[in-house]
Structures are given as structure tokens and as C-alpha cells.
């Protein structure tokens, strides 16, 4: 954590096409600058976001994940956002158990007209993660027969 000042978090965002992605476009059209740490991946509905996407992002080096969907009752596909909410709650439990600070994974309802909310949420999340520092995932136990990586992990542990 000594280089916390130089640390710039990498954040992956999954935004639904109809509300939050459109809102992020509006943030742009309104020229509301925000922290450049977020990379948005568009899906049709927040209901499409598999919790494994979030885990994959964390595994591949993201320090945080932002999920954006329509407000409850506004979902273009009736109720995909509720389904995401359910998975999100479960995922948080899992992340806690894994020792990941749950503030790193944030779910927000952002309507198409809420360009300012995209700005605020991205900024808040970036600042929070900047304070939390890089996501240092614990060394994962490798499956049997994983070979070299297992040995090197063991060697590291023994050293």
C-alpha cells in the first residue's frame, strides 16, 4: 500500500442498454467530466449480467465493478433488474466470504435521464477504491495437475 498515491483503480462497468448506458451517453453529451477509470461494457439488460462476469472482471485485474440498471419498475424487459438485484445480494455474500471488500462491487439504478448520477456514482466508486487500494486477491489454490503454477505458488509460500 506504500504506492497508494500512485494507484489508479481499474473498474469495469456493466450497463444496461436502455437506462444506464443511455444515461452515460447523456453524461457525455452534457460534458460532465468524471474519473477516467471506468470501462463500460454494454448489455441489453442488467438481467443479462452473469455474476461470473463480475468475478471474471475481478480475476482479470479489475479493482472494482459497477453494475447499472433501470430503476425498479422501469426495466425495459419488465423485471430483469430485480433478477440482477437478487444475484447481486448473493454475490456480495460470496465476495465477503472470499475476503473481498463489498464496496468494490456496486449496483446502482440509473435512469436514462440521470446523466449526473453516472458522474457521481463513477466518481464515488473510483474514490472509494482508490482508498481501498488494489484488489489483492489471495493466492488461489490451484486444481490438481495445474503443474508449474502450483509449484511456483508453493515455492512462493515456502519462501
Amino acid at each position: 500500500m506504500s504506492d497508494a498515491a500512485a494507484f489508479e483503480p481499474r473498474i469495469v462497468a456493466f450497463f444496461c442498454n436502455w437506462c444506464t448506458y443511455t444515461a452515460a451517453d447523456l453524461t457525455g453529451v452534457s460534458r460532465m467530466a468524471y474519473e477516467p477509470n471506468v470501462r463500460v461494457i454494454r448489455v441489453m439488460c442488467s438481467g443479462r449480467i452473469d455474476p461470473e462476469f463480475i468475478l471474471a472482471a475481478l480475476r482479470e485485474g479489475a479493482d472494482g465493478v459497477l453494475i447499472g440498471g433501470c430503476h425498479p419498475g422501469d426495466c425495459h424487459y419488465i423485471e430483469g433488474n430485480y433478477k440482477m438485484l437478487r444475484r447481486y445480494r448473493l454475490l456480495l455474500k460470496y465476495l465477503r466470504a472470499m475476503g473481498v471488500d463489498e464496496r468494490r462491487v456496486r449496483l446502482e439504478w440509473i435512469a436514462a435521464s440521470e446523466g449526473d448520477k453516472v458522474q457521481r456514482v463513477v466518481n464515488e466508486l473510483t474514490w472509494t477504491i482508490r482508498e481501498l487500494g488494489p484488489l489483492a486477491l489471495p493466492v488461489m489454490p490451484q486444481p490438481e495437475g495445474a503443474g508449474a503454477s502450483e509449484e511456483s505458488a508453493l515455492a512462493e509460500a515456502n519462501a
Binding site: A33, M44, R48, I49, D50, A56, A57, E60, K83
Partner: protein, 668 residues
């Protein structure tokens, strides 16, 4: 040619990457050159180029030429939002003989250059997004758009001037229209006005002929006193549930003779007349105004003796020779089909009780502008005579502009119409009462054909104009001259001193606000609205009547404050857009439906309850899930639920998204 696009089976991807400057929109905050050179290093990229405007013809030709010359089979364009130009580039790709779905867009304008202050950081972010798109596009597959027939009828919600004009335009083209209005009559606010600015032609004279045309048009079905309560389906094929409230009068029988009203057991009218803004009274059985359309009476169940108490001599029913009155009428719920929907639900006026210092509701002679419209109207409560509530004639009148507009405590926006209608009312008041008229304004806003000239005319007519926001309206007299009057306290910013103007009548030029139930309505139709409640158009400049939901269009003040000429113009535009969609005969659906890999599916049924459209069934013989493509709308919720990865979504395959995740993270 080997570039017929089937990259998955035809060898490895050959990707072309194109980075757009968008003038300086992107180039100011993204080093386009650096991103272009970076893209060259990504796996599979054969060419990487930059261009000033990728969406221009030369930009598109650049892509097409490269597809042919370099045998490209995948295209990435990094420019604006895909919601803006994805279709443009897909077409360009298709025109070069490549399947249009071998294309991916990286949004480096809305999501990067317009929201990032530092150019280096912007460049890094753009590189990440380009890397994500390149990784993703390698796994794209050839897809085809599905065509669905369009239902030829149009539903219009709201029967003000916007809905009326749109309905007539569409009906005149030969298409069928269902016009749904929740009040007992169409006409909306315009029917309440006396004259219209700047030409001063009588509102009723230009509106009521259009209202009767609606009633008589063979292609228009008019359902007044009805509300849309449910909307299902999608562009081209909406299923709409309309609830018709009971008016306790058979619409087909009633001829509007009003004998029933005369014979009502209420000898005196005692109920506040909504149409006259409560300035006069009506009976429980009434017709909103003489030219109401349809010309059918309506019974108010709250005040009717029979309907509220269950006991009445029912003289109205006796008086009706057509036996049109039916106390047993029930609410009716009807389902209809339509291909397109036009929302024309209008506005409401600002309630000036929210600014107590202006005395509305406290001083009898403080009126809203809408009340005054009725007051000066020949068919209004006073027959057009300008008299105060005690019957006396006002000798001096104050018109206070910007009540509930341009005000940080209420509404920040300008309501656009108040300056002009205040001028109109000033003219009418002067003409009818010969009183001294004072306009209190912040800025005079009169842009529009003939508007500034109208203002000039008012200046010559001897109306007083005082520049300054009114502080308060009070009855606290300081001099004998002020005794018995209301005093308008204002800082005259042109003279640079506070003033007190004693008047007999105050007119508050109330602003326009979104309908109080705009939020429910927008939810019903799947459109979005601004914080103030105005429905949001798809693009503020280039798609002003479309919404984010295909097949739903906007007309009139439900989209934002506007005057009658603008409303009519927009209603015409909405009608044209709806007709364009319907006359095409079909809509093309994004091929983003879900499908099941039968080899992988274990038949666990997890996906079935997830589908909001009941598109998934289990094939009990094969013991696998089956998706009905016609019902699938492409949300992908089943895909995220499937524990074995058997459910997949076209355009959003799991592997494509994983590639994009890895691309945006590990791009260096």
C-alpha cells in the same frame, strides 16, 4: 472473394480498426494517432486507420475499400455511441459484402473524450475500449435481422391539439386511428383559451372544426373518458388495454340536447365547473362546454344523488327521449392492437399556491392566467366581461410573468409561452376593460414568427412594462391611494428603485409543468422522462419526436413546454414518423434473441421462470429447454441464469463478453 464473412469457419479473423476524430470532439481529448498505432498491435488486426469523420461518406468508403483490398472479415469503429451510429456502420459493412454483425463499436466520444479532462488519461481509456472491441469482434458471428409485420393502426393518447392534429393527419392518409382521451371531451387546454397569439384568432374558431372532424372521420375512433391501463408488445405490434370509465350515458344514443341537464333535481348548479377553472358552477349531469366532442353529457358519480346516495327521482332519465341515461353503466376494459403509439398527454399549469407571497388563494382578485382565459372568453362564466369576483370592473391590472418558471425555488426552466400569452392577455384586458395594465417581467422572450412585432404593438398600445421580479402582492396599504387595493411590490431594475403599484386585479402568468402522473404514463409506455417529468425524445436535435422505445412517438407539451404552432408542427412530425413505420409494413428486430445448446442443456428448468415473456418451454421428450424465438425479446436474463452455459444470447454470447472484459482490462 473469400471475405463472405464466415470468419469462424473460414480461418482466422482479419480485423480492420477505424478511429474517428469526430472533428475535434474526440481528437481534443484522445490522441487518435496513438490509439491507431496501438490497435495495430492487437491480435488479428490487419489494418488500423484514423479519419476525421468516420460516419461521412468518405469514412464509410474507407472501410469498404479496405474490406475488399485487405480481405477483412471483422470491423471495429471507435467513435461515438453505438446508439448513435451503430446502424450506419453496420450498413457500410454490409454494403461491402460482409455480414453487418461482424462489426463492433467502441464508444470513445460520449464515454471518453466528452467526459475526460486529461488527454493522456483519455487516450488510455480509449485504448482499453478499442482493445475490448477488437477482442470481442473476433468472436462475432453472422446473424440476420428478423422481420415482423406491422399492425397498421395507430393509438394516440391525449386529445388536445397535439393529439387531434396527429389523429387527423394519420386518418387522412387512410390509416385507422384510435384516439384515447381521459376527460369527457377532447380539446385540451386550447379549448379553454380565448384568443391565440400573435394573430389573435379565436381559439375555439380554429379548434372546434378540427374537433368535429375527429368525431366524424371514418378512420378515427374516439374514446373519451377513457384511459390506457396496460401496454404489451413492441414496435409494430402493441397490445393495449383501454379502460373506459362509465359516463352513465349511452354515447351512441345521446344527441347532446341537454334536456336532462335542465331537468336535474339540482335546480341550481352547485359543483365547481372544471372547464371554467371553478369560476362557475355546473350540475352533477353536465356537458363540459357547448362544443364538447363528443357532444355527450356525462354524470359525475360523486355529486349525482342517484349514484352517490342511491336515491333520486331520476328526472334526467325521464327527460331523455332517447333513454340514453343508464345508471348501471359499468367500467369497460377493452383490448386493442396498434402498430405505433403517439403520446400527446400535454401539460398542467403551475399551482401558484406554491408561491404564497403572490397571494393566490388569499386575495380573491388574484387569478391564474388560465382562469383569466375563461374570464375573457365569450362562452366563459361572465360571457367575456372582465369583472372581479364581486362584480366590479377592475381599473388597474397587474400581470406577473414567470410564476413557476425561471425560478430556482420552483422550476428552473423557461416555460416558453408565458411572455407571449401575457402580452395577449394584456391586449385583451385593455381592450375589454380599458384598465391600466402593468406587465412585470424578468426578460421579454418573444422569439417566433410575428411575436416580436406583437410585442412592439403592445408597447404602442400603452401597456406598462416594468422589468423586475415581483417580491410580493400585499394588501397592506401605506397611503390613501393604496387603500382597498392590492399592492405589487417590485424592484424596477431599469429605474433601479423599489416600486409599489396598487392594482385591482392580479394575473399570475403560471408556467407549464409535466402532468402529475407523467411518471406512471412513461412507465406504462416504456419511455423515459426528465427530472421535471417531460418525456425524453430519442435525440434532442435529430430525433425530437421519437423515443428510446421504438414505435412510441411524442407530440406536444408532454415533451416540454411549447406553444400551439410548435405543438402542431411536432404533432405532424410524430404522425409522419408513425406513418413511415407503418407504411414500411414490417419492422426489423435486432437479432439478439436467446437460444439453447441442446447438447449442453441438462433440462434443469432454471431458465423457465426467469423469462418475463414465457418464451421458454421444456421439451419433455428431449428433456431440454426450448426458446420460442418469436416471443424472445433479447434481454438475456435466462442466459445469465443457466448454470451450464447452455442458454446463450446472440450478439451477447458469454465468450464475447468475457473477451471484452479481458480486453478492456489487459490491453497494454
Amino acid at each position: 472473394m473469400s471475405n463472405n464473412g464466415n470468419g469462424r469457419t473460414n480461418g482466422s479473423p482479419r480485423i480492420g480498426v477505424y478511429i474517428c476524430h469526430c472533428g475535434i470532439n474526440i481528437a481534443a481529448k484522445v490522441d487518435v494517432e496513438r490509439v491507431t498505432r496501438f490497435a495495430e498491435t492487437l491480435p488479428g488486426v490487419v489494418v488500423s486507420k484514423e479519419y476525421k469523420f468516420m460516419c461521412s461518406d468518405p469514412g464509410q468508403e474507407l472501410i469498404q475499400k479496405d474490406i475488399r483490398e485487405h480481405d477483412l472479415n471483422r470491423i471495429v469503429v471507435a467513435s461515438c455511441s453505438p446508439l448513435m451510429h451503430e446502424e450506419t456502420f453496420r450498413k457500410a459493412t454490409a454494403n461491402a459484402g460482409l455480414n453487418p454483425f461482424y462489426f463492433q463499436m467502441a464508444n470513445i466520444r460520449e464515454h471518453v473524450s466528452w467526459v475526460t479532462k486529461d488527454k493522456d488519461l483519455g487516450t488510455e481509456k480509449a485504448k482499453a475500449l478499442v482493445a475490448g472491441a477488437v477482442r470481442r469482434v473476433s468472436l462475432h458471428q453472422a446473424l440476420e435481422k428478423k422481420r415482423v409485420d406491422v399492425h397498421p393502426d395507430v393509438l394516440i393518447v391525449g386529445g388536445g391539439i397535439a393529439g387531434i392534429h396527429a389523429a387527423l393527419t394519420i386518418a387522412n392518409s387512410g390509416r385507422k386511428v384510435l384516439l384515447v382521451e381521459r376527460e369527457p371531451t377532447i380539446g385540451g387546454h386550447m379549448a379553454m383559451f380565448d384568443k391565440t397569439f400573435p394573430t389573435l384568432d379565436c381559439a375555439a374558431c380554429i379548434l372546434t372544426p378540427k374537433m368535429s372532424q375527429v368525431k366524424d372521420h371514418p378512420n378515427i375512433t374516439l374514446w373519451s373518458y377513457s384511459e390506457v391501463t396496460k401496454v404489451d408488445g413492441f414496435a409494430g405490434n402493441f397490445t393495449i388495454q383501454v379502460t373506459r370509465k362509465p359516463r352513465y350515458v349511452n354515447e351512441d344514443e345521446c344527441v347532446g340536447c341537454m334536456l336532462c341537464i335542465d331537468s336535474c333535481v339540482y335546480k341550481q348548479a352547485r359543483v365547481d365547473d372544471e372547464f371554467n377553472q371553478g369560476l362557475s358552477k355546473r350540475k352533477p349531469i353536465y356537458i363540459p362546454f357547448p362544443q364538447a366532442t363528443p357532444p355527450v353529457v356525462v354524470i359525475d358519480p360523486e355529486t349525482c344523488m342517484q349514484l352517490s346516495k342511491g336515491k333520486c327521482k331520476q328526472l334526467c332519465a325521464e327527460a331523455c327521449e332517447k333513454h340514453a341515461i343508464d345508471f348501471n353503466q359499468k367500467e369497460e376494459v377493452i383490448e386493442v392492437q396498434a402498430g405505433a403509439i403517439i403520446l400527446a398527454t400535454g401539460f398542467k399549469t403551475f399551482n401558484p399556491m406554491r408561491i404564497p407571497e403572490y397571494g393566490y388563494g388569499r386575495y380573491l382578485n388574484v387569478y391564474t392566467s388560465l382562469e383569466v382565459e375563461r374570464l375573457v372568453n365569450a362562452s366563459g362564466p361572465t360571457g367575456g366581461e372582465v369583472v372581479l369576483r364581486d362584480g366590479s370592473k377592475p381599473k388597474s391590472i397587474a400581470i406577473i410573468h414567470c410564476v413557476g418558471s425561471r425560478d430556482h425555488k420552483t422550476n428552473k426552466y423557461c416555460s416558453r409561452v408565458c411572455c407571449m400569452y401575457s402580452l395577449k392577455l394584456a391586449h385583451l384586458m385593455k381592450e375589454r376593460s380599458n384598465a391600466e395594465v402593468y406587465n412585470f417581467y424578468i426578460d421579454m422572450r418573444t422569439p417566433g414568427k410575428g411575436y416580436e412585432e406583437f410585442y412592439d404593438k403592445l408597447l404602442e398600445e400603452g401597456t406598462h412594462f416594468i422589468r423586475g421580479r415581483v417580491a410580493e402582492v400585499t394588501d397592506w396599504a401605506l397611503t390613501d391611494a393604496e387603500e382597498g387595493k392590492m399592492i405589487v411590490r417590485v424592484e424596477d431594475t431599469l429605474v433601479g428603485m423599489p416600486r409599489r403599484i396598487p392594482v385591482d386585479m392580479v394575473i399570475l402568468s403560471v408556467g407549464l409543468e409535466a402532468q402529475p402522473d407523467a411518471d406512471d404514463v412513461r412507465r406504462l409506455f416504456g419511455v423515459s422522462c426528465s427530472k421535471q417529468g417531460w418525456f425524453t425524445e430519442r435525440h434532442p436535435k435529430l430525433a425530437p419526436v421519437s423515443t428510446a422505445t421504438d414505435g412510441v412517438f411524442l407530440a406536444g407539451a408532454c415533451q416540454g413546454p411549447k406553444d400551439i404552432p410548435d405543438t402542431v408542427a411536432q404533432a405532424g412530425a410524430a404522425a409522419a414518423e408513425a406513418l413511415a413505420m407503418i407504411d414500411k409494413g414490417f419492422v426489423e428486430l435486432e437479432p439478439n434473441t436467446a437460444f439453447i445448446d441442446e447438447e449442453v442443456c441438462s433440462g434443469c428448468k432454471s431458465c423457465i421462470p426467469m423469462c418475463p415473456y414465457t418464451a421458454i418451454k421444456r421439451d419433455d421428450e428431449k428433456k431440454v429447454a426450448v426458446i420460442n424465438e418469436a416471443l424472445c425479446k433479447g434481454c438475456g436474463t435466462c442466459v445469465a441464469t443457466c448454470p451450464s452455459g447452455a442458454a446463450q444470447q446472440n450478439l451477447f454470447l458469454d465468450e464475447q463478453i468475457y473477451e471484452e472484459i479481458e480486453g478492456v482490462l489487459n490491453y497494454v
